[in-house]
Symmetry: C2
Subunit: 356 residues, 2 copies
DNA sequence: TGATATAAAGAGACCGGTCTCACAACATAT
DNA sequence: ATATGTTGTGAGACCGGTCTCTTTATATCA
């Protein structure tokens, strides 16, 4: 058994051709499924290929055709349920169209994102779906366009970049959630996100570099303003990137003399962290504080009480992004668009009605 | 702006060479970072490359070097937290060694697995990590070996296949969990898995085609037998593949006159389904029934009560598998091994002490 | 029966890199 | 001054497919 002998020159069309006693071109026609070949020769070649266990070298194929059949996807963090669901949607769309998916993690860091994009372009992917970590730095994405590689942004849009984007209707979602909370009598509401905050406190919404978060905060603030509540930015907190940070954020929020009565979590990871923080502070939901989280994550339906959430339909978002990209790859003439997938509020038990 | 012009012949070494007024070979040496080139020429070439925005074609590079720098991973379902965590571990190990990861989903189906493997081999991945859907059908994996592509099995082992495998110590884990349950006075224990059951009832452990599940069931049964409990296979149930099936499985189990007092869930998805089933049946944990789930999934720590789990250290498993594969790719001389990652029981609140 | 159309097969360039080998220029040894 | 070595550069084969162009064999028609 010298199976383990490593390099093992693989079987090529030339080998098959020789075995089938035909020219390389003819064997290639049979194996590649193009051109015209007589039935007899086809059989010969197929038999030879089977005997030699021929496997086409997709790399070589891609080289000459110029198409790799691969879609590159750059996400923030696959471990996050949001992205794994999205990837599923993208993969399903891709598979249906005969494409494969190669995934790269950016860890929500710009540098990692840049090198991931470079790498995928190097691998000559046929198209790219990117969740941009920051919406204010996009040279590398501009470069993708210049290279002629179709690009679709996911979850976050960059208006300055003339390119398709698939996002949730974040502003509307935030408005709906916030209105619901104010409708239940809440007057002091906090918005908590995992986004890195570069200075601690937030003074200027426009400076939030993630469009999804920015739009949600805008929606949140607009409702509060509209309701005549003072200082709507006062309870917007960023930086809940891990349990410890979140504990600290929550503690500061809730130990304030004018503590918020309701919390809006920007994603399911933040939501989970907030939930745990509240648990460890011994605060009951919704008696002591109400909360709403984005994303219908597993955990949100099995807690006591179950968590009211904004259902983002991430799978559909992913699928849509995949389909859009494939349409671009196949040169379907389409106007550049921002596709918004509508969200819906799923009422469960984590919001109390207060006052009145 | 004719940015959108699609095909856009990309800049090649030849283009750079011409611009820098050197030979293709020299430009290639600079750009590829091999061979010897004088400082002056290096600068010239680099300048030309920068001006032209040269990006190497990894495909072509792979063709001539025979290395793609890609590791292929075939998992059951990325959406499953078990796999997404594992993929993270694999990716981290890969990135550290300068490899990239391409992921394919098998949906736990043999045919999909076969074509995924074929596809990845076609893409000339440098190595393959596979979670075999069935341990009794491995022609396609044998083929991988014959093709000279390093292979590491993940989560499940196939003893007949002379190849490395990274798994949990499933038998020990099941033994520990089961012993804990019997130690708490439980005498009728059920094991529930999502594996497809081809006949409904289970009569022969050896026929379970997934080694991880089989070993867990073996461990489970061995403890029960050792404890002198009758008919240990009686409460082993497969087929909890979705909520409806699980509801039915749980209902049948618990409406029996001799209903089990404790349930062992084979993975976190099954665990979650069981939890929901119990909720909908109005049964309280652990008062009416106790449960233990595999995998420290998000949801298990925020339920009431929190769920006692078998911590599988999946990230480490993934990382180990990645490292092992890379060692193989780099021809480190190593004996073929089955690497077992130890698990531990994390006691929370979902198991009652009964009797006595 | 010879001229022409058509189908099937072969020859070889090409994709964009890597890499071997040949060769030139200059330094050092004899 | 000639032999030998070293270093930097150029020419061109090669990886394994695709694909165009040419050639050959067979069918169709006058």
């Amino acid at each position: 058994m010298e199976d383990s002998a490593h390099p093992k020159r693989s079987v090529t069309v030339a080998d098959v051709a020789k075995a089938a006693k035909v020219s390389k071109a003819t064997a290639a026609r049979v194996l590649g499924g193009y051109g015209v070949v007589s039935a007899k020769i086809t059989d010969q070649v197929m038999a030879a290929a089977a005997a030699l266990e021929y496997r086409p070298n997709e790399l070589a194929r891609s080289m000459s055709t110029g198409r790799s059949g691969i879609i590159g996807v750059v996400v923030g963090d696959i471990e996050n349920a949001f992205f794994s669901l999205a990837v599923r949607g993208i993969s399903d769309a891709a598979r249906l169209a005969g494409f494969n998916v190669i995934i790269a993690n950016s860890g929500e860091e710009l540098d990692a994102e840049k090198s991931a994009v470079d790498l995928l372009i190097g691998k000559r992917v046929d198209g790219l779906i990117v969740t941009p970590a920051r919406c204010d730095s996009f040279d590398h994405l501009q470069h993708v366009r210049r290279a002629g590689v179709p690009l679709v942004l996911f979850d976050r849009a960059i208006p300055e970049l003339d390119v398709d984007a698939v996002t949730g209707d974040d502003r509307e979602a935030a408005i709906a959630a916030t209105r619901y909370l104010t409708g239940q009598g809440h007057r002091r509401l906090a918005y908590v996100s995992a986004m890195d905050a570069e200075g601690g406190g937030l003074t200027n919404i426009g400076r939030i570099s993630n469009s999804a978060v920015r739009e949600r905060v805008e929606g949140f603030v607009s409702v509060l303003t509209e309701a005549g509540l003072p200082n709507p930015l006062h309870y917007v907190r960023l930086g809940a990137t891990n349990q410890q940070q979140t504990d600290s954020v929550i503690k500061h929020l809730l130990l304030d003399s004018a503590a918020p009565t309701a919390l809006l979590a920007s994603d399911s990871l933040v939501g989970l962290r907030i939930f745990k923080s509240l648990q460890s502070l011994g605060l009951a939901i919704p008696r002591d504080v109400s909360m709403i989280s984005f994303l219908d994550a597993d955990w949100t339906s099995v807690t006591v009480p179950p968590i009211t959430i904004v259902d983002q339909r991430v799978y559909e978002m992913g699928k849509l992004a995949g389909e859009r990209l494939i349409a671009r790859i196949e040169r379907t003439p389409l106007a550049v668009e921002r596709l918004r997938v509508s969200t819906s509020l799923v009422l469960r038990g984590s919001v109390a009605t207060i006052g009145r």
